[in-house]
């Protein structure tokens, strides 16, 4: 049986878990160890198997292969009602024939908690999601954000060992989503619960989690802290998925070490950071995030020693806090640089048409072998 010591977070471990729906493989060999009290997000494009993975942990799907452990117990054959799990569904799945309080009380009633104790715990859970006084309403009489909070209260009131959330914020507008992210995080910390959070929003994954697990095509492609995922993506797919990048194609000129150089198709030699398995002569894509690119007026001093390429600003997109400058660089191509608007953008020296220098630190430019199926499948 699952550890049911209330308030004691437990770990979750998946070992080579696989699941197909008929001939359609949804999850192909996922191995993942989640520490007690950790909040992990599953990130990936639509159809990559996030929901299926979550449903396997919940016991709503039986895996074709592999092992699932909650705490130390192997739970492969344990039905969902014996797993002591909390889950927030994407559609919330609040029972329409029950009031808010009855919805929250449901899990307690199933555990034999009744009477004044039950009422107290329901009130405490509703207070925790700031819905005190909403107990008598029907789910249909609530806003989207309120329903989401009821679903959260219903999931945590039984003090489950693991909390599963399947894109619970997808239906909310941006502002509400951001405040709910903070709220979920705070409640998760306060309750000290292990949580798995499914999302296909990279920003949400980065803000909300201790660890991000990026999935593609039923497999885990990378798992790491938000910073590792963002700064050191292991594959081109991960890099693309967690944010916009400049992509420059070329061939490795100098390699064998972590830092090397690439001769771009456009002509120039640029410094890059290389994956260990990339050798000189390999065709690569060099990926540089816009905020890693510096821009300076041609007559100003170069911020970092080393590589600087002359170019011309062709186009600027003002975003308030920052500006994206599109720079045509000879021998490189078009490079987008993100510049925080430290000084008023109106007084800037970086006007469209002006001559500038651009550059980046070698470790900020990541070279990935082009169209490499092996790199995509690595896990």
């Amino acid at each position: 049986m699952v550890d049911q010591i209330r308030g004691e977070p437990v770990g979750v471990e998946l070992t080579r878990v696989a699941k197909s729906y008929g001939a359609v493989p949804a999850v192909r060999g996922v191995s993942l160890a989640i520490e007690p009290g950790e909040i992990v997000s599953l990130l990936g494009p639509s159809g990559c198997g996030k929901t299926t993975t979550l449903r396997i942990v919940a016991g709503l799907e039986r895996p074709d292969a592999g092992e699932i452990r909650i705490g130390r117990a192997l739970v492969n054959t344990l039905p969902p009602w014996k797993r002591n799990i909390g889950m927030v569904f994407q559609s919330y799945a609040l029972f329409p024939h029950m009031t808010v309080a009855e919805n929250v009380a449901f899990g307690l009633r199933m555990r034999g908690v009744a009477g004044a104790t039950m009422d107290q715990e329901v009130a405490a859970a509703l207070a925790q999601v700031r819905l005190g006084g909403f107990g008598e309403r029907r789910p249909s009489e609530l806003s989207g954000g309120q329903r989401q909070r009821v679903a959260l209260a219903r999931a945590i009131v039984t003090r489950p060992s693991v909390l599963l959330l399947d894109e619970p914020l997808a239906a909310l507008d941006r502002q509400l989503r951001e405040s709910m992210q903070i709220e979920i995080r705070e409640i998760q910390r306060a309750v000290g619960i292990t949580a798995i959070f499914v999302t296909h929003d990279q920003e949400e994954a980065l803000t909300l989690s201790d660890r991000v697990v990026v999935m593609e095509d039923g497999r885990i492609v990378q798992s790491g802290t938000p910073a590792e995922i963002y700064e050191r993506p292991r594959t081109r797919f991960v890099s693309d998925f967690v944010g916009f990048s400049n992509v420059l194609d070329g061939r490795v000129a100098e390699g064998g070490r972590e830092l090397g150089t690439v001769t771009l198709t456009a002509g120039r030699l640029v410094p890059v950071s290389l994956a260990p398995d990339i050798a000189p002569g390999d065709e690569v894509d060099v990926v540089v995030r816009p905020e890693k690119v510096w821009v300076a007026a041609a007559h100003e001093a170069v911020p970092t020693a080393g590589h600087a390429f002359p170019g011309t600003i062709t186009h600027s997109v003002y975003m308030g806090a920052l500006t994206y400058h599109h720079v045509a660089v000879e021998g490189v191509g078009r490079v987008v640089a993100m510049v925080p608007n430290v000084e008023p953008a109106t007084s800037g020296t970086l006007a469209v048409g002006s001559a500038v220098l651009v550059g980046w630190r070698p470790e900020s430019a990541l070279a990935f072998r082009r169209n490499d199926p092996g790199a995509r499948a690595a896990s």
Partner: protein, 299 residues
Amino acid sequence: MSTAVSGSTDAVPMASQRRVRDVSRLMPLALLAPGIVVIGLGLVWPIAAMLAVSLQDKFPDATRVTLEHYGTVLSDPYFLRIIGRTFALATVVTVIAALVGYPVAWYLARSNSRWKHLVFLGVIAPLMVSIIVRMIGWTIILGNEGLINAVLRALGAIDEPLRLMQGFWSVVLGLVHILLPFMILSIAAVLGKIDRSYAEAANILGANPVRTFLSVTLPLSVQGIASGSVIVFCISVGVFVTPIMLGRGQVAVLAITIQEQMVVLVDWPTGAAAAMVLTAGTLVVLGLYGMFIRRHARR
């Protein structure tokens, strides 16, 4: 509609604006008219006529208005027994149809089996065969010389044929068979619309399949049971052919008695009063259903 029109009033002259509004108000009436005519001619008119007859001392050649026929129908033990039997029959048929129909409806709504279409066809097939044909079918099975008795006799289990054909329960069986499709389709329609995540949420909250069914799925499908029950009850309370054929004259119900009063005994006012009692009973059930639906609609 009318707010959208008045939202841009400036250019539109008042008169034509009013005309637009009148037309939009008459439109629903025009669409409802055919239905109203059919219901009026087919339902209200006969009931009104029946009510009028039931209140006359004699028919034809009435001399005064009286409630005496209602007194007869509602106090004479003969009539009371028949009224009781009629409503008991309808209730029993409804309950059995719900109990038998629910699992079939569940299968139709939830199964992914490729036999599902066949089962669906089996469910609606009885609707395509005339009642008389189906009753003859049951006679072939249940009759003294019928299938069951023949088999039992061949097996040596009985010497005399069992009298399967004249009781209350053979009529119940026949009615459940006829009316089951209505129950199944009503329940399946509602079950099919219930999102599966409700049951899954209940499972995860600790409810085993039985508790999930009792506290989530059943309450969410109760509207289907209610509408199916109303159809089955209202039809079986007024049945005529089935009790005659499967009851062999031993199972007198109101519809048969009404027909006897009017056609055999030529006592129109008493027959009409009995018919009004039948109608009133049906209306009470419909009223309860309406109240139930209104309470449910608040969700």
